[in-house]
């Protein structure tokens, strides 16, 4: 028997909606198999991984803390990917945004006022956008591949942060730990419901950004420009849209949102700068963007799913004694299956009969 992929005349709406769910189901199936192979009870493993973190209010707050940056970054990336700009460097833009925003409370600790926090958020966005403009400039000016340049700039940003917190920005009163001074209260992003858990305003920023970008992409001429230039650059030029300006628009927007995520995380969840401030949000957000079908509203749902893999990873580590790398495995499988299932949107599977395969062999 032979399996054939036959191109559909129109892309399938059904499978557009179904493919993330199929991918999720396949991920759970393979996850169960991995638990079994590791000698754990698969049902128990999946329970600790995906159900247990949802049972307590405080851990729902944790979920929102993790989902916030993922959604914020992924919403920006969706505009990049829809316009065919492959920004892989959101992790770096996240870090530079955090550094730019943190510069205020770290360098000017005596400047304490209600305007500090808004300024920090603006600095964060500007920092992320400025950092994202580098690959955009290189792409438009020299034709470099933005996948490579944006990715390489991630490592530059990580090492820059590492150097800052060990060197010039290290807290003089911090016993030589590689940390900056703790942010003063005016520089801390408040929690939404301090009585019940730790979720801060980052998740609200994320939800607002998702709605705004959804409206932009699906209802305005700018969104039309994004989609046309992404799907068909030559038709976009014929429409009078500029591909180069779109490169900057997409990179600056996604850089700003990643920077906002960075400063929100540092000021809302951590409270100071340290050598590592992200468990790979910038990369995980790529999975979120695709799992959400590059639709900002879908991304909100996908962001919570991926946030759950982080919490589940921690839970599995504690309850089952598994490596925390299990979270990465689940995230990787999810991306793999999402991209694989996307084939079903444009193709349908046909099983050719035995006769054909005999003939083929001849």
């Amino acid at each position: 028997m032979r399996v054939e992929l036959v191109k559909r005349p129109q892309h399938s709406k059904l499978f557009s909606a179904l493919s993330p769910l199929i991918a999720l189901a396949l991920t759970l199936l393979c996850g169960a198999a991995i638990f079994a192979a590791l000698g754990k009870n698969p049902a128990e493993g999946l329970y600790f991984y995906f159900i247990d973190p949802l049972r307590e209010v405080w851990s729902l707050h944790e979920l929102a803390v993790k989902a916030g940056p993922l959604i914020l970054i992924a919403v920006g990336l969706s505009v990049c990917y829809l316009s065919n700009n492959w920004n892989i460097g959101a992790e770096g833009q996240f870090i530079i945004g955090a550094i730019a925003g943190a510069s205020l409370p770290v360098l000017l600790p005596d400047f304490q006022s209600p305007v500090v926090l808004p300024l920090m958020l603006i600095f964060g966005m500007l920092g992320g956008a400025a950092y994202a403009s580098i690959p955009a400039f290189l792409k438009t000016r020299f034709g470099t591949n933005e996948i490579l340049t944006s990715l390489m700039l991630v490592y530059v940003a990580q090492l820059f942060l590492d150097w800052l917190v060990r060197g010039p920005w290290r807290d003089p009163a911090g016993n030589n730990f590689p940390l900056t001074r703790r942010f003063h209260p005016d520089a801390v992003l408040p929690e939404i419901m301090p009585t019940s858990g730790s979720a801060h305003w980052g998740i609200v920023f994320a939800l607002v950004a998702a709605v705004v970008v959804w409206f932009l992409v699906s209802r305005t001429i700018k969104g039309f420009e994004v989609r046309v230039l992404g799907a068909s650059p030559r038709a976009g030029r014929f429409a009078g849209f500029s591909g180069k300006r779109m490169v900057f628009f997409a990179f600056l927007l996604s850089g700003a949102l990643a920077g906002l995520a960075g400063i929100s995380e540092v000021s809302g969840a951590i409270g100071y700068l340290q050598p590592v401030i992200s468990p790979g949000y910038g990369f995980t957000a790529i999975i979120v963007a695709f799992l959400g079908r590059l639709n900002p509203l879908g991304i909100v749902a996908a962001g919570f799913v991926l946030a759950l893999t982080y919490l589940g990873g921690e839970a599995a580590q504690i309850s089952l004694g598994m490596s925390d790398k299990v979270a990465r495995v689940f995230q990787g499988m999810l991306l793999f299956f999402v991209l694989g299932c996307d084939t079903l949107i444009h193709y349908r599977v046909r099983f050719a009969g035995r006769g054909d395969s005999m003939a083929e062999a001849r």
């Binding site: 036959v6 129109q10 209802r219 700018k222 046309v228 030559r234 030029r237 003939a359």
Partner: protein, 523 residues
């Protein structure tokens, strides 16, 4: 229909009830075809009649759903192109597969299975090329060759495999009349050697001239087997189309002479953008209100470059090189040129004139978001999808665009229907200047007639229309004057009353523009 009657007279190739079904569509429905030895057999049909599907089955790139193929009287299954070649079937495709950066000989060597030294191949290619009247230097770089010469490489590549049946897919669509004549001599010589040729074309005069037999397809079925020499071009066209071809109504009333020049091209030059692009050299042309000017020429002589310069997809250093409606436009973007009242229809439908994965209504917005901003866009650039849907329905109705859904993706439409939509999209604006590149390329006869009629009506209502086309019949049908593009140069336009096929053909082949008049008189 004799079976294996030894050396008697079995057909070289015969198909019986050959059928190919794609999903719900029967592309080929019980096709019977019989090609004798030493025969040039024409396969006629409109676009979408099933010609390509049939040929792909004969060449082993598609598997028939039902029916059988008999090769020299023996039922044969042709599983792959390699097997077709082993049997002795060669094919020259309409779209060449050549590497421009390699020499002719290297390109030929790439297609041969064995590791024959390249010098041997060059030698054999040279022998073949002189033997069959296909002049070609095997050492020349493909990039430097004309389309006709590139086709010769394909033909020689095919002949090196010593086929008994050669399939030619629309071989003259890219050739000048003179190049086509040379090709016909080669084909006749091949026939003289007992080789058979399956000749796919929709140029009826050619078929009448060189073919011994014809099979006509319509909607996937054989509608006639005939001897084209006994038919007229009109009767052949009727068989292909099914009804009388819709004649274009064209008032022969003289032009509003002295109309205002709405599109002016002054000494337009453009360096080549890529190593394989054609530079434009001092192009001069005026198109007046109420007239259609045609630009003839073999593909790849600078027509696309001219179109891009006119549309504003590339800008000119000299603003006065292009003037639209009396205003310098060389430095204006495509949107600004549209705001001056001009409209553009590029050659490529999918991916240039329309985005394949966008809906028709969205593709309407593609070229009109600036000119119809007030109607289609609100504050903050919010798109009024209702207004666009309505406009899109108006266009599909007025241009008779046939579609499967209310608002399908552009890629779901047939070429002809999408082209009608794209042209309708621009006409709906009543542009004062329309520049259209290959308006009916790959479009069926009915849609082509509709499009040509619409272009004529636009001009008669006082717009200036510039039509770039490879189809000489089309230009003679609709244009008031015809200029010829060759190697980036544009000849002076000849009024239609003075233009002849001969004169235009010579210019297409590169004769000096100054001699055009004389050549015309000689003809």
């Amino acid at each position: 229909m004799s079976q294996v009657s030894a050396e008697g007279d079995p057909a070289l190739l015969e198909t019986r009830k050959l059928t190919k079904v794609f999903g719900a569509v029967t592309a080929c429905d019980a096709i019977d075809l019989r090609i004798a030895r030493g025969e040039i057999h024409a396969l006629l049909g409109e676009n979408g009649a099933g010609k390509s599907t049939l040929v792909k089955m004969l060449f082993g790139s598609l598997e028939p759903t039902a029916g059988e193929v008999l090769w020299k009287g023996t039922p044969t299954r042709i599983a792959s192109p390699a097997e077709a070649r082993r049997l002795g079937i060669g094919m020259v495709f309409q779209h060449f597969s050549l590497f421009e950066a390699l020499t002719a000989a290297q390109n030929i060597a790439l297609a041969l299975p064995d590791r024959t030294p390249i010098a041997t191949i060059a030698e054999r290619a040279r022998t073949l090329s002189t033997g069959y009247g296909l002049p070609l230097d095997p050492q020349s770089l493909v990039a430097d060759l004309s389309v006709g010469e590139r086709q010769r490489i394909e033909i020689i590549r095919c002949l090196l495999q010593e086929p008994e049946l050669i399939i030619l897919d629309e071989p003259t669509s890219v050739l000048t009349p003179q190049e086509a004549d040379r090709l016909f001599e080669t084909l006749l010589r091949l026939r003289g050697e007992g080789k058979s040729i399956l000749y796919i074309s929709h140029r009826l005069d050619e078929v009448k001239r060189i073919c011994d037999a014809a099979t006509v397809l319509r909607h996937g079925k054989v509608v006639a087997h005939c001897d084209p020499r006994d038919e007229t071009a009109g009767s052949l066209a009727r068989m292909m189309v099914g009804t009388e071809v819709h004649a274009i109504r064209r008032s022969d009333a003289p032009l509003l002479t002295g109309g205002e020049a709405l599109l002016e091209i002054n000494q337009l030059s453009r360096p080549p953008a890529t190593p394989f692009a054609i530079p434009l050299r001092n192009v001069d042309l005026q198109v007046r209100a109420g007239e259609i000017v045609g630009i003839a020429g073999v593909a790849g002589n600078g027509q696309s470059e001219l179109f891009e310069a006119l549309s504003g997809e590339t800008l000119q250093p000299d603003a006065a090189a292009i003037r639209i409606g009396g205003r310098d436009a060389g430095q204006l973007t495509i949107s600004e040129r549209r705001l001056l009242g001009s409209a553009f229809v590029p050659e490529e439908r999918l991916g240039h004139g329309a985005a394949p994965r966008l809906r028709l209504s969205e593709n309407l917005l593609l070229s009109r978001h600036r000119t119809d901003r007030n109607a289609f866009l609100g504050r903050l650039g919010i798109v009024f999808s209702g207004a666009i849907q309505l406009a899109s329905q108006r266009i599909t109705k007025s241009m008779d665009v046939r579609k499967s859904a209310a608002d399908p993706e552009a890629a779901a439409l047939s070429g002809g229907n999408l082209q009608k939509f794209i042209i309708g999209r621009e006409l709906d604006r009543q542009p004062s200047v329309l520049v259209v590149n290959q308006p009916t390329w790959g479009v069926d006869a009915g849609a082509a007639a509709r499009i040509r009629q619409a272009l004529i009506e636009l001009a008669r209502n006082g717009s200036a229309v510039l039509v770039i086309s490879q189809d000489l019949d089309e230009l003679f049908e609709i244009a008031d004057a015809i200029a010829v593009m060759h190697d980036g140069r544009l000849s002076a336009p000849l009024p239609r009353s003075e233009a002849t096929f001969e004169a235009i053909g010579l210019l297409m082949g590169g004769a000096e523009p100054g001699h055009a008049g004389r050549a015309g008189e000689a003809a």
